[in-house]
Structure formats: C-alpha cells, structure tokens
C-alpha cells in the first residue's frame, strides 16, 4: 500500500524552481531517505507534503489525502520534526508531550500513562519535570522525535533530525527510527549523512530540484559501481549547476 504518492510536483519561487517536476511513491512501513545537497529542494518538497507549502503544480497524496485540498486532514495523519528544534523550551518535558498529545486528540488518561512509559524507555525519568531548555541537544532531538510520533501517525516526516548530534546519539536516534518503523509508522527522512542513507530501505537523491536516482542503497551502489552511498552521492552531486563543485 502506498502512503505517499507524488506526481509531477513542482514549486517555483519567482523565477527559481526549487522543486522541479518530481514523482515518486513511498510504501507503508518504509524508511524512505530523501537525500540531496544543501539547496537541492529537499526541505521544500517535504514542506509541500506536510501541507505547509502550496505546490505550484502537480499532485501529491499523503495518507490518502490530497496535499493541496485536504491539507488539514493530511496534518492530522502525520508527525513532523523540523530541522530547527521546535519544542517549547520554556515548558517541561511532560508539558510538551501533553501539549502535542492534546492537540492531536490523544485521550488525557492515555497520555499520562504513556508519558511515563516513554520517559522510561528514553531513560529520561529524572527529566520529567525539567524545562526542555536545560536538556542537551541530543536529548532534545530524541524527545522531539518521540513527541512527533506520540499520536501514532501514519507517516512521520523528519527534516535533518540528526544535524549537529554526536555519533553515539545519532546511532540511538536511528534505533528509535527502526522501532517506529516496526510499529508500522512510515518514516520519511531527509539527511546529508551518507552513512545514514545506508540505513534506509530506499533513498532518493535530489539534484537541483529533480530526483536523479531512486532505489535501495544496495541497488544504487551497484548501478553507479560505487563502494558506498557517499560515492554515489558525490557522483550525482557533481552534475549540479549550482553547488560550486
């Protein structure tokens, strides 16, 4: 079953085409890596899928809803974690969970029970009453991810979730992503860490607003006769007109 279907999606800002006629689909339960250099159009494409940005042309269906005309329904079925840390720093850990769970309509009783479970899982029991601003970055990112899937969305969109995080935490973060995927949540993740690309079921690589390659990491390595995803990526990125390479 396809949970994301995109056809000829385009976004122009004035004369600049940020996303240029892309088409792809994502299967339920997949971990889909969305790769590309800075400025390749990853975030723009993702924001359109989340209903934050109106496409210039083309069509997109997320969780069965049209991204242009049913964007509020799309929003109710997805989780989103942005590049910029977006939990409320002046709220406590449990207050952030309560706020977002409440917004998505998770019953209060359930929220209470699951909050304690979640914090135990994360090893954050002692931080329940801490203000989020007092947590180190890696912990915050883990918390933000947990909050974004707390309401059991069909799909979670992660925009460079591991930016600026240390390798150990990055590893733990990916373990969390696998767990979410096991729960049946489809994971759509942008990154520019190529080792992370290897963890994905399938990856697409965007260059100058277009998707230049889309397959499983192993198939891509074969296709480009490369030893690693890093090589595949550099091979493709070299074609870009605006990355100064």
């Amino acid at each position: 079953m396809k949970v994301i279907e995109v056809e000829n999606l385009t976004k122009r800002f004035g004369s600049f085409t940020a996303v240029d006629n892309i088409s792809f689909s994502v299967e339920k339960g997949e971990i889909f890596g969305f790769l590309g250099a800075n400025g390749a159009g990853k975030t723009t494409a993702m924001r359109m899928l989340c209903g934050l940005l109106v496409p210039t042309s083309g069509k997109g269906v997320v969780a069965g809803y049209d991204i242009q005309h049913q964007s509020e329904k799309v929003k109710a079925s997805i989780g989103y974690m942005s590049q910029k840390f977006a939990l409320y720093e002046d709220l406590k850990v449990w207050e952030n969970i309560r706020l977002y769970a409440g917004i998505y309509g998770v019953p209060e009783k359930e929220t209470k029970e699951r909050t304690d479970m979640l914090l135990a899982e994360l090893g954050f029991e002692k931080e329940k009453e801490s203000l989020v601003k007092s947590l180190p970055l890696g912990w915050r990112q883990k918390l933000a991810f947990s909050v974004s899937i707390f309401h059991n969305p069909e799909i979670v969109f992660l925009d460079e979730p591991t930016g600026g995080v240390d390798p150990v935490t990055r590893r733990q973060f990916w373990e969390m992503i696998y767990k979410a995927s096991e729960r049946g949540i489809t994971v759509f993740v942008t990154t520019h860490y190529m080792d992370e690309a290897e963890y994905c079921n399938r990856v697409s690589i965007m260059v100058d607003g277009r998707i230049d390659a889309l397959d499983s990491p192993s198939a891509l390595r074969r296709e480009f006769a490369a030893a690693s995803m890093d090589e595949v990526f550099r091979h493709l990125a070299r074609k870009s007109k605006n990355n100064g390479l």
Partner: protein, 363 residues
C-alpha cells in the same frame, strides 16, 4: 484542543521572568508616575498688574490672585504701556488691567469690567494662564457677590466636569487606555512573532490546529490579564486620587472589551506581516505613537488643525479615551457614547477580519 493551548500560554506567561512582574508594575507606574510627569498644570505665571483704581477691592483682588500659587506678581505697572513693555522684555506673561472706577462701578452699578491680555507666544502659559485668571476672578466674584448681593464682575467661566481643573483627572482615565493597549495589543502580537522566530509556530502549523483556535489561544490569556490589569488601575486611581467613575463601571468594561478586541486584532495584523521581533516592535511603535498623538491623549482633538482632526478618526485610541474620560468625569452612559461604540465595533471587525484573512498556515 484550545484547552491545551491555553494551558501552555498561561504556563509560559507565568514562567517568564519579566512578564508577570511587568503586568503588576505597569498599572502602578501608569497611574502614579505618568500623571505627574505628563502634568501640564502651570505654576508661577508672571503677572503684571495695572491697577488704575487702587481701591480696597482691587487690592483684595490682586492679593487673591497672587496667593493661589499660580501667579507671581512680577510687576505693578503704572500704565498699560509700561506693563506691555514688561511683556516684551519677557518679564511677565499676562497683564491684568483694573480700570480706574472698578470699585465704584462695582458698588454703584453692580458691574465692572477687567481687562486681561496674555502673551500667547508661550501658548500654554498664555492660554491656560488667562483661563486660570478668569477662574480666580470668578471665585472672587462669588465672594463679592455675597457682600454686595447683586454686584458682579462679568468674567465667570467655570470648568465643567473637572471643576478643579486637575490635570491628573484628565490624564488618569486616558492612561488606563494605554495600559490596555500595551497588554492586549502588544503582548499577543509579540508572542506570535516570537514563536515565528523560534520556529515553534511551524510545529503548530503542521498540526491540525485551526487558525481560529490558534489565534484565540493567543488572545484569550492577554484579554484576561488585560482586564485584571485594568481593574488594578481602577483601584489605584481610587486609592491614589479618590477618582471613581461618575458613570457605571459596566459601561467602562463593555467599551474596554470592545477596544481590546479591536486593538488585539490590530496586533495580530502586525504579527502576520512581521517575521522578526525587531520588525514587529518597530511597526508597533510607529502605529502606537501615531495613534496616541491622534487620540487626544495630550492635545484635545478639537485643538488640532483641521487635517489632523480628520486624520484622528483612524485612531481607535481616540474613541476609547473619549469613553473613559466621559464615563469617569461626566458620568456618561451607553447612549451618550454610541459614536464611540460604532467606531470601535468597526475597528474590531476591520482589524480582526484583516488578521484572519492575512494569517496563513501555509505559504
């Protein structure tokens, strides 16, 4: 949904270091300190007296005028020309000329004339000075009246509704409006722009929270806080100046609610266009200053030049200041204030309509 968002707003408000303290200090500052600083009451006006009569009554009159603290006898001139020279040399601001048959006319004909000339270069000194002078003579007139039964001096203005012409009484109700404008107009707008700057608004935009719920979650807390602050203002005005509204408090609350609705709508419009706090602050101050000077807070609208009077209709502050002054000093009721009611309603619809239309969850 709204419940969780409101809970969040209140937690954030009370957790912030400055906001709760400011909300309590502001009404005290506005009620106790600002009226003193913004006092236009003038003392020590230099008076030149040309007493052509030199009678008991005229001496009494001059004594009365100079004993009040407002006037200082700068010069007793022999002729009007001498006094005029004093004005030219800036020694005196106002000339009071008492005609030679002042006492006799007063006694015989029950009527006498005085001549007041004011140097209007210093407009406030000249204008207010002659008004004060007329007031004092009016008082004197009354005491003469009781002595002479039907004798009278022709000048007798009275300052209606604010009989003692206390500037404080004039300023305090208007300053309450300022406090409301700050709490209910500024704070929610800055709060929203703050969320834009932090990126937290994007996280909200990607949830199914709808426009209206989000906006209400921003406005309601500040409305509640605004009314608490307004109520503190009432108490401070009462304790500090013994100033209680001559009209009903219900009228004030009703109009305050309407004003708050329109002014927070204005704040929202700004928050929709500003992307940083700096931009928002700058726009806020630009418009707030315009609104204040057009509102009649300092200069009565009727004293403004024609074009400024026409321009003053764009200031929502003007209408609520009129309401507060009239209810406080004159005891006006709802039916006397219909014009303000309609204007404030129009502002509320205009700003809030604009705010809802210009707010975008997506771009």
């Amino acid at each position: 949904m709204l419940k969780y968002l409101l809970e969040k707003e209140f937690k954030q408000f009370f957790r912030s270091r400055a906001l709760p303290k400011m909300a309590v200090i502001m009404p005290f500052m506005a009620m106790l300190i600002f009226p003193l600083a913004a006092n236009f009451e003038i003392k020590n006006i230099n008076l030149a007296v040309v007493d052509n009569d030199k009678s008991v009554t005229s001496v009494k009159l001059v004594n009365k005028i100079t004993s009040g603290g407002y006037f200082r006898l700068a010069e007793s001139a022999a002729t009007y020309g001498d006094a005029m020279r004093g004005v030219e040399l800036n020694r005196s601001d106002i000339i009071l000329e008492i005609p030679s048959n002042f006492e006799r006319d007063l006694k015989r004909e029950g009527e006498a004339k005085l001549f007041i000339a004011a140097n209007a270069v210093s407009q406030t000194k000249g204008g207010l000075g002659s008004a004060y002078l007329a007031g004092i003579i009016g008082d004197f007139n009354k005491s003469i009246n009781t002595q002479l039964k039907d004798g009278a001096i022709t000048i007798s203005p009275r300052f209606w509704y604010n009989p003692r012409l206390l500037y404080t009484y004039f300023m305090v109700p208007a300053l309450m409006v300022m406090v409301l404008a700050m709490v209910c107009g500024f704070l929610p707008a800055l709060n929203i722009v703050g969320e834009k700057e932090n990126g937290t608004i994007e996280q909200i935009n990607v949830t199914p929270v709808n426009k209206l719920t989000f906006i209400l979650s921003k406005l309601l807390p500040y409305w509640i806080i605004g009314f608490v602050v307004l109520t503190i203002c009432f108490f401070v005005a009462w304790f500090a100046y013994g100033l209680v509204p001559a009209g009903s408090l219900a009228t004030i609350y009703l109009f305050a609610a309407l004003f708050v609705l329109s002014f927070s709508g204005f704040g929202l419009v700004i928050s929709n266009y500003a992307t940083t706090l700096q931009q928002a602050m700058f726009m806020m101050f630009f418009f707030l200053l315009t609104f204040i000077f057009m509102s009649g807070l300092y200069t009565p609208v009727a004293n403004m030049p024609d074009w400024a009077q026409k321009l003053s209709i764009i200031s929502p502050l003007k209408y609520i200041i009129i309401v507060l002054r009239q209810v406080y000093l004159k005891g006006s009721g709802f039916t006397d204030l219909l014009n303000s009611f309609w204007m404030l309603s129009a502002f509320a619809i205009f700003f809030n309509g604009w705010a809802v239309l210009s707010y975008r969850k997506k771009s």
